[in-house]
Symmetry: C4
Subunit: 376 residues, 4 copies
């Protein structure tokens, strides 16, 4: 079966098939911003390759008539071992922005991570009833940073996800080529006065969004700073964007309740190891510690979630695929993506003989033979 | 030599070349049902890749003037280390359905597995003279289930092959896309009143066959149920569709006389390990036990059978290729496929210096270097 | 640099580039007979892949102003660690047949292996002045077999190369498809009355050459028969066509002075391990014994020879490439191929810091990273 | 994102993208001379594959607000862990030749290696203010050789880079095919009377440049000769073009202050191991010795430099990419390449959590899963 093309008008039957309709719905520049990665996009491609090169060994003859997919992620209950990943500026993809996606997350019963660069404010998001998590970029201004964390707590965020892999943005050549900038009506709703001024000023061969974050974010943040912040908030701490087991251990020792093994969807260091490849060593390093391992970067369907669980993750963050749903169809689009993901996961669990997520964690994995081969 | 295309009118000279004529003979929907796999079809492709990535180390200077290809599979004598795999509804592919394929199996001297979803009844099949095996799907209704097993025994089945990897059907997106349903004249001949009603009702973006099996089959079946059944029948037990050595061991301990290492031709869990990749660990786990190891999923010719034997299988089930023969030419088509397979296997044994199947079991294997490479 | 195409009229600058002109010079049927392999041609392709996936670690700062490429192969002195492989019926490729190729071998100072199926007789070949080796196929008729060996000895053959991997021909589908048969003027000059009658009778979907050899050759030959022959001739024994170290050991114990690690250029067991992949284990098994290891199947240039030496071979047999030269240009074509091979090898030795073949045997090897990758 | 094509008129945003404009600016023959490698160009392709198949595991939460990229290479201070590789005859690519590239190196603060086959003289190069290194090819005439070294020292060269992998040129088939020769106005400015006479005489199927070097260079040079030279100059010794750890050790024992792990950009032994693949064993062999490990062959951007550092290199030589800049835009083109490389490296260091080069040396690496895979 060949991949559905952008002009394919048939409704997607799998999470993976939502890429086509999303691409059709977006301008090329916004699609590039969403789909693109850093530099030569090696890591972006390898994120998928890592899943494709791994096989799972299913079990049989367990009662799978009622697979239990519920999970506790950090401290939040979730209908699935899945939370929505932080993605900046949802209003780039649909006029309702985070309002649509958060509502879908609420309906699906999965946590929704509000980004520092959310284009919709806390108040509106809290009103969706979604379980909220808050993702923090380390602002240069510590006053604003603490204010932001306090606002997140006040809005009911159940944890604080500090993104650790963005001292500055990766070199995303598509955006520079496109002189990508935010349209005037898309703003950073959580920053003072919705201030994302620099992100709106297009300039030749520069990504305005990258320029904006360079202004905004501190490349000087260290583990000590993180400890400083940890002391100043009650919110459970999650460190997102690490790949080295030593960093994971450091996060756990500092008191983090979860880490997210992530290369930011291939958008930061090109040549960074795929998250899935990095996962087993991180999981092993944290074995026996009170610190969950989550994963993102490359999750495109239910069997990917199963694979991540088999390699030691407690759950995953869903990044681009939810945005595909948002772009293709607003809130119902997001809902359909989450519905398909739930169905795919439940199916995969059953076919792997797993009545719950604990059983999935016991599955064996092995390299998948590569079908690139064909006799000449 | 490039692969023969669908419009290639020259008679196939190898088992593998029968795919083309079969495709030509079938409607696209039926071809998709036959050829397709679950979700992204990774496992489907990897089943072939696993064979292609493996090399066999032949021996020389044995007397191979009369290679003995006969085997005892479970308790049945067979002219080849091959049995026909259970495949639902042969009448989808040719009006004579299982009658044609069973007759060819009888003539070739290999066991024929009658599926729970056979489109021809036991009586007619018994009359073909074929060695019959019976494949059981675990029906929700235990009464019907025992009746079915009793009917199979009465028809002379020499063993009972319980399919363990179908709590429900895998997500076969081609069929959903095609709104695939059974034509009115193709029925489940072994079920009460030929009842496959649901399988005939086409519905948008749904596979009617999948919907039917969801109604029919129990996703709650466990090892304990299997033990329960084992006590209620004299038929030797075979467990089909396992990949994990621990499951193989469990089957052996329960009294199974054979297991079939299989991922159902890539039709159930996408991302499941290829059978051939899983085979050595299963064979090792069962070494010294009175339980044969059979394999299916990806066998396309005599050297594939040789490879499976070298990795520890006692024989293989032939799935799609026999159906190619059926679609392309009814009973003679099936006969030709089995004739080619026998010739290919006898040839391969001789070229590998093996006068019998026992010698094949001693062959060394090693990874095959991948010719995907070409200098730019 | 893309590969030269068949219509490329520029003179080849490397051994590998001779394939194009040869293909242009031959009818499609003869090209297929020359270029083709058994069944799906996996082993044929893998023979090249095995070389391409291997890297050599060169040395530096040795005096390579006069690289010594001379070798003793079996008992023959050779200008290169190369002998011409036995290839049936050279007159299929050029009217002068083995006369042309043997003369070129004589001029280049490398042994020429006369095949059992030579299309030119011993007398004429002896007159070329080439160092002759004789390749024996095990004839069903032992009288003729001993006569043939005696004739070879009388013609001055310096050794007897018994081909061990042809109990019968591999299934070469191209030839069956082409209904390939020998033209009337190409005969088996060494057989009584030039008898290759069956090989001339074309029949639908059958290779007449395969049918002829099936008539002629015994599939019952064993190690005991080989010992029987060894006692009946003074000629040093070489066993050609083995891949398993245990067979190599057996050959050495029987008194063979060399083995040829070979899969017959991918023409016998499809799925057989590439010779180069099999080489190290064979070389290790024979270490310390008085039995040389030669290799063929896939050698296409000087750096391939270097690689084989680094992995433990004392030399290689050159198969198809010499025939490319013969087809493209008769004796001068063969001479050019051998000249290019010598130049390439001398060059490669020098660039690897090897003043002689002994130094090449000390080179390290390591897997070559596969450039199939490219970012999407 | 697809690779920019030769006709792409947009300014390059990465070092890698400079290949396109360079190709557009050059004649096909000169492009082939620059881009080509030896024989089948396996090593050329594998040089890139080696980088692409390797992943780096980044660290997080280090203060990377001011990444320090300065390095001491041999004894020279450099703004980057990068020196310009010796490349013959820069005037082939731009009328200003080495003058342009050396000025750009001076401005960027990186050492510039003057080649034995420089097309601009020492005096002019010294006037650019660049840190000069001198690359020596071992001339047949020892008097000229010592004169040349003395001239290099007089011009202020900070070290002597002896190229060890060119007893003669590799077989570069593109150049032979193109009958490549130097244009009359491009001369070997450092050789007596600018004598590169043979290099100007085009001849069918011969590279005039290869013929010239065969006349000029000695294939007899050994480690003893190198020791002899080492005693006769004060210049710190660097041995360029080795891949085997034993050779590296020998260089260190002889007193070399650095080695360059290099296969000459795939232009010498085809089938030679990629430099990056060879690097770890060399670095390990030299651990604890006073001998730096540098690397070239395949470096195309900042993350390649990071990768080399992670595998044990102290720095890299930049070969073809600087020439791309020269061809595409003279001195400003070179400056832009170096500016992009610096930016990419600084970026990559920061994204890998490395505040300096020492931190990069501590990064873990792991194989990168190959995205060649795609479901059929
Ligand atoms: C368009 C886009 C915007 C993103 N914005 C943020 C962000 O603001 N904060 C953050 O921590 N991660 C951000 N990410 C990274 C995601 O949280 C997540 O790590 C990534 O999307 C995972 O890769 P995948 O989508 O390919 O699975 C963004 C990713 C994308 C694609
Ligand atoms: C069209 C089709 C129908 C099948 N129906 C059944 C079935 O009813 N029962 C069963 O146990 N397996 C069934 N199988 C699985 C086969 O028994 C076997 O495991 C599979 O075909 C092996 O893969 P291969 O055909 O690619 O070699 C079916 C397979 C196909 C292709
Ligand atoms: C057209 C053709 C004819 C051959 N005939 C013989 C033969 O008569 N006897 C034999 O021992 N090997 C024969 N061989 C095998 C060669 O001796 C050798 O093993 C093979 O060509 C090596 O593979 P390569 O040519 O791809 O390097 C033949 C090979 C070819 C291609
Ligand atoms: C056109 C060209 C000319 C070269 N000339 C020389 C030279 O004169 N001396 C030398 O030591 N290396 C020479 N090299 C090799 C480079 O110093 C370096 O090893 C090589 O370019 C590294 O490969 P890369 O450019 O692909 O990264 C040359 C390379 C090229 C491409």
């Amino acid at each position: 079966m060949s991949a559905p093309t952008a002009t394919d008008r048939r409704p997607p039957l799998s999470v993976a098939e939502f890429a086509g309709p999303a691409r059709s719905a977006l301008s090329p520049e916004v699609w590039d911003w969403l789909a693109g990665g850093a530099e030569q996009e090696h890591t972006l491609a390898a994120n998928r390759a890592a899943f494709d090169r791994l096989a799972v060994v299913p079990r049989v003859l367990a009662d799978v008539s009622a697979c239990d997919t519920t999970a506790t992620l950090v401290r939040s209950r979730s209908a699935l071992p899945v939370a929505v990943a932080p993605v900046a500026y949802h209003r780039l993809f649909h006029p309702e922005g985070e309002l649509a996606s958060a509502r879908a997350a609420a309906a699906a019963g999965v946590p929704f991570t509000v980004g520092t660069l959310s284009s919709v404010g806390f108040e509106e998001l809290a009103a969706t009833g979604a379980t909220l998590w808050f993702q923090l970029y380390w602002l240069r201004d510590r006053g604003r940073l603490l204010d932001l964390v306090a606002a997140a707590a006040a809005a009911g965020s159940e944890c604080l996800v500090v993104t650790a892999d963005v001292p500055y943005m990766g070199r995303r050549l598509r955006d520079a080529r496109n002189a990508f900038a935010l349209p005037g009506d898309v703003r950073a709703a959580l920053l003072e006065g919705g201030a994302a001024g620099r992100a709106h000023r297009a300039g030749a061969e520069v990504s305005a969004v990258a320029a904006h974050t360079a202004e905004l974010l501190s490349p000087a943040v260290t583990w000590a700073d993180l400890a400083w912040l940890h002391e100043r908030t009650e919110l459970p701490l999650v460190v997102k964007g690490l790949l080295d087991p030593a960093d994971a251990l450091r996060a756990a020792e500092l008191g983090a309740e979860a880490v997210v093994v992530s290369n930011h969807g291939g958008r930061q260091l090109d040549r960074a190891v795929p998250s899935l490849t990095a996962l087993p060593a991180v999981a092993e390093a944290l074995a026996g510690r009170d610190c969950q391992v989550l994963l993102d970067s490359g999750v495109r369907g239910g069997s990917d979630v199963l694979t991540a669980l088999a390699l030691g993750a407690s759950g995953v963050l869903l990044g681009r695929p939810l945005i595909w749903g948002l772009a293709a169809g607003g809130e119902p689009g997001c809902a359909r993506v989450l519905e398909l993901l739930a169905a795919e996961l439940r199916h995969a669990l059953g076919l792997a003989g797993c009545a719950d997520l604990g059983a999935a964690a016991e599955l064996r994995t092995t390299p998948m033979p590569c079908p690139a081969w064909s006799a000449p």
